[in-house]
């Protein structure tokens, strides 16, 4: 290949700091013309296509303290900014205790992207067709940001301000994502389903559902949608309709109808708006029905084949 044929980014300055403070300092100096590089699975393609042309890239991959995921004693889940999708996919404690995340992890992009990409980076990228934002919304997740003026926690629903836009200040780093603890004594159930034309494509439609059961009653419900609007959609009315009741057929269908009403799909090459709305309804019914039948067994995604 001749060098002239290669696709490569516009010129930028590159720094790979050894501490978070140094990273924040570099971003501060960058004055809004800097980008954080973590997994790079969305940013590097944007750089190559020159949709993004930052002056400075601050590569945080040396901040190995951020390569963690853990479940605290009360059930709070913390995911560091360098926790890769593949780490979550292989995490037995996540599989055992957080079925919505466990169902989503193997469906993120493709297996090779999952080696490198990160959950926190995916939230920051704020793609309306992203998967983790729907999961985090259903779980009531938060993003922890650290900047020159200290640390703050932001609800995921406030964190994303528009397509590919988040609320971070230019000199803040999203250092971790937090999924709050379930209610004491609740059984945590849930699932994630996504329709994609092929592995690695963006979602045609996807639904993340989390239900906490106390006995046979729904103590808390979370439902969010991806791929069916210009942002991740939070089906708050569907959640409210489930809380306090049992998961019978009528309740499930009613919640699915409410969730489908929240969808704002547009017709495109992936399908018509009506079709996508129908998929949303079907997915919510499918996940909730499985929960009702087998609360201990999450909705398992069909393993996509080559």
């Amino acid at each position: 290949m001749e060098a002239g044929d290669a696709v490569y980014p516009a010129r930028f300055r590159y720094e790979a700091p050894r501490s978070l403070e140094e990273a924040i300092g570099l971003l501060h100096q960058g004055g809004g013309e800097a980008k954080v590089l973590a997994g790079g699975q969305s940013l590097v393609p944007l750089l190559k296509l020159r949709f993004a042309t930052p002056e400075l890239l601050v590569d945080i991959n040396n901040l190995t303290d951020l390569a963690f995921h853990r479940i605290e004693s009360d059930g709070t889940i913390r995911i560091g900014a360098l926790c890769r999708h593949a780490d979550l996919e292989r995490a037995r404690e996540i599989a055992a205790r957080q079925p919505t995340m466990a169902a989503a992890a193997p469906l993120i992009a493709d297996p090779v992207v999952r080696s490198r990409g990160t959950l926190v980076g995916s939230l920051c990228h704020a793609d309306p067709q992203g998967d983790w934002a729907a999961v985090a919304t259903a779980l009531g997740g938060r993003v922890v940001a650290q900047g020159v003026h200290g640390r703050r926690e932001i609800a995921v629903t406030d964190f994303v301000t528009g397509p590919f836009q988040n609320i971070l200040a230019y000199d803040e780093v999203a250092v971790e994502a937090v999924m709050p603890a379930p209610m004491p004594g609740a059984v945590v159930t849930g699932g994630f389903l996504k329709l994609e034309r092929r592995v690695g494509d963006f979602a045609t439609a996807g639904a993340a559902v989390c239900v906490e059961l106390v006995g046979d009653r729904v103590a808390r419900a979370g439902i969010a949608l991806t791929g069916v609007g210009s942002r991740t959609l939070h089906a708050a009315e569907a959640e409210a309709a489930l809380v306090g009741g049992v998961l019978d057929e009528r309740a499930i269908e009613y919640a699915a109808d409410l969730a489908a009403q929240v969808a704002e799909p547009s017709s495109d090459h992936r399908g018509s708006a009506d079709y996508k709305r129908h998929v949303v309804r079907t997915f919510v019914i499918r996940i909730l029905t499985r929960i009702a039948q087998r609360p201990d067994c999450p909705e398992a995604p069909e393993r996509s084949a080559a």
């Binding site: 060098a3 290669a6 593949a86």
Partner: protein, 174 residues
Amino acid sequence: MTSLFEEVTGGAEQDVPVRRVTITVNGRMRTADVEPRLLLAHLLRQGFKLTGTHTGCDTTNCDACTVLFDGRPIKSCTMLAVQADGHEVTTVEGLASSEQLHPIQEGFKAEHGLQCGFCTPGMMLAATALLEENPDPTEDEVRFALSGNLCRCTGYQNIVKSVLWAAARMRGER
């Protein structure tokens, strides 16, 4: 020492920051001076002349450029060469020894796992990573592990057979 600066920019320019990186490629320490915007795939191909790493789509879709980065499969077109500084990279050239093909390569030969061969290096490295983690995969697990690697010739059937063949060989069952 390889300077890729001229190759990447298409001509000498002044005042372009270049970084020296040292990467263990296929077990051997390699040093290069690279512009930060150089992609790892291009360092491997143009700088180190390891042209077994193929760039297919240039847009992070096809996985033809898959290499192992510290043992994990990654898309070398979606990592900057500077990011590989201090890390280990395995390309398809690192699979065989001078005397013997890697079992994965034997498998692709035995089961006719390639036609045009363009996707083959990426397929073999993704499969190598799978077998390292799971020496006895089911057919479904092989298909799942390779689900991001696109092939436009064979329809995947023989690729999957090749990986299962290699898995059996590596377990000493063939």
